[in-house]
């Protein structure tokens, strides 16, 4: 198994009136054809870390790493042209809210066909056929009809399926899903996650799932990386989540209300300044 992604000592900084502010302080991991979850609270640097793999950060950001490769390609040294050959084609990004991520004035089918044509040679007719096939793959029951709908005519779950279909069009090796189900209802969330799981397994893709939801990620991924304030607190097998050692991970688990085990009072996370290095 070759590594899709290798990251060593990633640092990301943004400029501020008082000089650069580092928001990711030395994150390292290796990803193969597996499901890695990155969990953390808002501002923990989880999205910035994942987006750095595609160099999809605001221009003002400074990225450095002793090593950052995608399938052996040096991402930091790559030109924008080389990056465009990776983004979308070899690594897809699924965002949180289909309402904002889809083009509101293009039909679902046209958007998927466009994504397909950017990365494949083929006629408009072939692209349209591919789009309908992809909609069927994300288990949309009537793909021909849905292809003709505009984003505002889709429910949240359908919109997310359309976005996934678009990301699958170029046959990527890696999917990065940034809170793909946070905008969805629980029943739809379960369906979308099963769909992603199935596609990842069938196509042998790597997956990075970014979420604030620790139980969800551990249910779904092979490995979980817990981030806090731009650092990795702990990395563990998802199955061993309940045996997590780090006080931050424990704290996050303990402050969740539970349906099965009632608590009189929720414990509150006590933040240790030592976690910030």
């Amino acid at each position: 198994m070759s590594a899709h992604v290798e990251m060593r000592d990633l640092r990301v900084a943004f400029p501020s009136p008082r000089g650069p502010v580092e928001v990711v302080h030395g994150v390292s991991f290796t990803l193969g054809a597996e499901k890695l979850g990155i969990v953390g609270e808002s501002g923990s640097g989880k999205s910035v870390t994942a987006r750095a793999i595609l160099k999809l950060l605001p221009r003002a950001a400074t990225i450095s790493a002793t090593r950052l490769t995608f399938d052996g390609i040096d991402v930091l040294g790559a030109s924008e042209r080389q990056m465009r050959a990776i983004r979308g084609k070899r690594a897809g990004l699924i965002l949180q809210d289909p309402k904002y991520a889809l083009n509101p004035v293009m039909t679902a089918g046209a958007q998927i066909a466009e994504a397909w044509r950017v990365h494949h040679r083929g006629s408009a007719r072939q692209a349209r056929a591919a789009a309908i096939d992809l909609l069927a793959q994300v288990r949309i029951r009537d793909p021909g009809r849905v292809a003709a709908l505009y984003p505002h005519e889709l429910s949240g779950g359908m919109g997310q399926r359309v976005m996934i279909a678009m990301m699958l069009a170029p046959d990527p090796e890696l999917l990065i899903a940034d809170e793909p189900t946070s905008a969805l209802d629980a029943t739809v969330q379960a369906e979308i996650l099963r769909l992603i799981e199935d596609l990842v397994a069938r196509r042998g893709m790597g997956l990075i799932l970014i979420s604030h939801d620790l139980p969800l990620v551990s249910h779904f991924c092979d490995r979980v990386m817990v981030m806090y304030a731009g650092r990795v607190m702990e990395e563990l097998r998802a199955a061993n989540l309940s045996a997590a050692q780090h006080p931050y991970t424990r704290g996050l688990l303990d402050c969740l209300p539970s349906l099965i085990h009632p608590k009189d009072r929720l414990s509150v996370l006590k933040r240790d300044p030592a976690w910030e290095g």
């Binding site: 379960a190 139980p215 989540l241 309940s242 688990l253 209300p257 009072r265």
Partner: protein, 250 residues
């Protein structure tokens, strides 16, 4: 027997030609908490908004402490009943200081001792006095939700309508806000009507729960029954299974 604090009977709400709440009835005793759960579009928030007077096209009967509610809410209604919204980023005015936003409901209600009330309200929700002259963008998400709760409490209401009060917050902050809501209820004898999609959250705060689906309240049950799986309706069972599946995985 005293009248329930909140009584809703055969409530129907329409948006234009479409009816989105199809005859819902329930009541909440003084000092109790009632939670409504359901998926988006099930009508749970619409019921809350109709009670607050934010969904004008309704029929049926609604009463606050035995007094029937009409088309318009009197000023006195908002002294007794206040609402906390989901998104503390959207519900606070971005260009007004916290001080000004907390003063406004007091001015509307022509209440005196504004300075002391603001100081007490900030203290009660666990905000530092220094937050008073800040703007919302200078506060964290959790602090902003505390401001929203302080604003709702400042006129001394008896009822709080809580619309997904913790779903925009990190879980660590959610725990703090839920503890705060429990403390405030114990201290002031508040009546809560809460809407959420999270079963663990609703069971934590509300001993009695209504399950919404497609504009109908398909089941009312106690939190203890929900926890134990003594549910009658398949939709309740489905929501419960999705919630426990994740819990058991951890």
């Amino acid at each position: 027997m005293a009248a329930p604090m909140i009584a809703i009977d055969g409530l129907r709400v329409r948006f234009g030609a479409r009816e989105v709440v199809h005859g819902v009835s329930f009541s909440v005793a003084r000092g109790a908490s009632f939670g409504m759960v359901g998926e988006s579009g099930s009508g749970k928030s619409t019921i809350l908004r109709a009670f607050a007077g934010l969904a004008p096209d309704w029929s049926g009967a609604m009463a606050l402490d035995g007094q029937a509610l009409g088309r318009r809410r009197a000023r006195d209604f908002f002294r007794r009943c206040q609402m906390v919204f989901q998104d503390p980023y959207g519900s606070l005015h971005p260009r007004q200081t916290i001080d000004r936003q907390l003063a406004e409901p007091l001015q509307i209600q022509a209440m005196d001792g504004i300075d002391a009330r603001i100081r007490r309200a900030l203290e009660e929700v666990g905000l530092p006095a220094s937050a008073r002259f800040r703007y919302p963008h200078q506060l964290s998400g959790g602090q902003r939700q505390r401001v929203a709760i302080a604003r709702a409490l400042i006129t001394g209401p008896e009822v709080l309508l809580l619309d997904e009060p913790t779903s925009a917050l990190d879980v660590s902050v959610q725990a703090e806000v839920l503890n705060l809501l429990a403390d405030l209820q114990a201290a002031r004898g508040l009546t809560y009507l809460m809407v959420t999609h999270n079963l663990a959250v609703v069971a934590h705060l509300c001993p009695w729960i209504g399950v919404m689906q497609g504009g109908e309240m398909v089941e009312q049950l106690s939190a203890a029954d929900l926890r134990a799986g003594r549910v009658a309706h398949p939709h309740t069972a489905e929501l419960r299974a999705l919630s426990t599946e994740l819990e058991e995985a951890g």
